[in-house]
Amino acid sequence: MPLNLTPNIADADGFYDELLAAHQDLTKDDSDAFNARLILTLANHIGDREILRAAINAAK
């Protein structure tokens, strides 16, 4: 299955809210570190190297 670049999250606004809430009151360094941890966690869930490579390219 190729990388899905079409909308795929139900209640996008709710998710966005939750994501930003996780950053609330963090310092810049802590926020950056949190983002890194989050990316690695999601990448592990995806697992598929082809998809991960496509995602890295899509975000460039």
Binding site: P7, D13, L19, Q24, L26, K28, A58, A59
Partner: protein, 540 residues
């Protein structure tokens, strides 16, 4: 004396002296304070049901100024039930194409292709004074048919005295003060509600530190009927966001989000406004079309609500009860839902068809609606004006990705258009005994669909209604003095089928007077229906 705070665009209900003013306080069943869209809509709804409604307004018509301009489908559906929706749609502007910009870049455009099988469009743009005028014309038509509605202009409420079973109201007029009494009073007197002040009630929430400059311009030049929205517009000094969209009479509404620390006087200088407007209007074509400034103002906004919308014999509806940011058009639209929620309940209680406790559900249901609207409009505001560095990083990442990948577009938030809330799990709603679509589950308001040559909502005239699709139901009947309409659709249209049957072969819906679905079943069962009606009236 009654102070004049603003000019009126349409003089609708000029002051006339009435006999009440020379008599001891007379008792009225329902007194509505404020003749804006919400107050007038409640009066019209009550009057059409035969319940006397008296509106007191401290002016004599629809005020000038930049107010609500976007009226959503649910509002048009409610207005249609009241007989005034078509005039609004005929006058209003419908647009489908929107373009989203970030700085110099056009990120994407969207086309809101209308869904089939609805009488009304998803929304129209219409200046609020027209909206008020059309409702008022509905009131005049209803009065001509004997509806007991009275609107008194230049009647300013100056004091209120609450009792267990009535309210005493002091009113000032050009001929001096008088007093009247109300069984029930509804304060529709706006965000700065004098009634709320007089009663010393709370109005809690969040203040957004932002100023918005509004410029309504008239241009007859050929300019596309599209909504243009900028994040971080490139025009000099234009602030965090800018919005352009069309209203009737060749008027375009332009909003500039200027930030908090501004010099109001300087920003309101027509030369400065024109410089910004020139830059915006020429940004796509390179040419400045001819235009005239019709109205300019600067406003700030809050998201806040009263803790309770009912205080004994006094109700608050519309902006007096809750205030939201303008993004998503949730002000007047949510107020119209307050109006339809309260009108039938008050009518039923006054007629003795429901216990007084039914009225508490107004606060329960509309408080939920207010919270949902505040949440949505706060999210839009936070997206447009990120409140921290990291939220700005994410916001800009969304915008950048949105220009390339469609997945990011649902995150782009310049306001989510007002849709009615669903009263999921609220006490006055009953069973969902049908394997049907979620869009029409109990608690939801009825979505429209074609029925025969017309539309479903045309058949929901403000009584309790049984909708039987592909199955038998009794003809119109009366239960405990309450008239129950029956709409029988033997063979549903494809839209009605999709929206009301789903995988089910047949269905029976019980629908409240405000077109919200109480319960649904596969078959008609008299006992089940009677239980659901009792539940819906707060009798269970």
């Amino acid at each position: 004396m009654v102070a004049v705070r603003y000019d009126t665009v349409f003089k609708l209900y000029p002051y006339e002296k009435v006999p009440d003013q020379d008599k001891p306080a007379r008792r009225h069943p329902v007194v509505i304070v404020g003749g804006g869209p919400i107050g007038l809509a409640i009066a019209l709804d009550l009057g059409q049901r035969g319940t006397p409604a008296l509106v007191l307004d401290d002016h004599d018509g629809a005020g000038t100024g930049s107010k609500a301009i976007c009226f959503a489908k649910r509002t048009l559906d409610i207005s249609h039930r009241l007989g005034v929706g078509q005039a609004m749609v005929d006058k209003g502007v419908v647009w489908n194409v929107g373009k989203v910009f970030h700085d110099e870049n056009r990120l994407f455009e969207f086309n809101l292709l209308p869904e089939d099988g609805h009488r009304n469009p998803a929304f129209i743009n219409l200046q609020q004074p027209y909206f008020e005028k059309f409702i008022y014309e509905g009131i005049e038509a209803a009065q001509a048919n004997g509806a007991p509605i009275e609107v008194r202009g230049m009647n300013a409420v100056t004091a209120l005295e609450s009792h267990d079973d009535h309210v005493v109201v002091s009113v000032d007029t050009p001929d001096g003060p008088y007093t009247l009494e109300a069984d029930w009073l509804i304060a529709c007197d706006g965000a700065r509600s004098p009634i709320r002040e007089m009663m010393g009630l709370d109005f809690e929430g969040r203040v957004f530190e932002d100023n918005f400059l509004i410029a309504d311009v008239r241009m007859t030049a050929d300019f596309p009927t599209e909504r243009w929205f900028w994040f971080e517009p490139p025009f000099k000094g234009s602030g965090q966001s800018a919005l352009l969209h069309k209203q009737p009479d060749d008027v375009w509404r332009i909003d500039f989000q200027l930030g908090w620390e501004i010099d109001r006087e300087k920003e309101l200088d027509p030369a400065n406004i024109r410089a910004r407007v020139d830059a915006m209007l020429s940004s796509q074509s390179g040419e400045v079309p001819e235009y005239e400034l019709v109205w300019t103002s600067i406003y700030t906004f809050q998201c806040r609500r009263m803790k309770n919308f009912r205080h004994g014999r006094v109700f608050f509806a519309g902006d007096s009860a809750h205030q939201v940011s303008p993004f998503g058009a949730r002000g007047a639209n949510s107020g119209m839902q307050d109006a339809e929620n309260l009108a039938w309940k008050l009518n039923f209680v006054l007629n003795g068809h429901a216990p007084e406790g039914l009225l508490d559900s107004y606060d329960d249901e509309r408080g939920f609606g207010a919270d949902e609207n505040i949440l949505n409009s706060s999210r839009a505001t936070d997206f447009m004006t990120p409140k921290s560095d990291m939220s700005k990083v994410f916001r800009n990442a969304v915008l950048e990705l949105a220009s390339k990948h469609s997945f990011a577009r649902p995150f782009v938030n310049s306001g989510r258009l007002s849709v009615p809330c669903v009263y999921d799990g609220f006490p006055l709603f009953g069973v969902d005994a049908l394997d049907g679509p979620t869009v029409t589950r109990p608690g939801a308001s009825c979505t429209d669909a074609t029925v025969d040559q017309g539309f479903l909502l045309d058949h929901l005239k403000g009584n309790f209604t049984l909708l039987a699709i592909g199955t038998e139901a009794p003809p119109q009947f009366t239960f405990d003095g309450v008239a129950i309409d029956v709409v029988h659709v033997p063979s549903p249209s494809p839209e009605l089928s999709t929206r009301y049957l789903g995988d089910a072969a047949q269905a029976v819906y019980l629908i409240r007077p405000d077109q919200h679905i109480v319960a649904r079943w596969a078959d008609f069962d008299a006992e089940e229906v009677e239980c659901a009606i009792n539940l819906s009236l707060g009798k269970a």
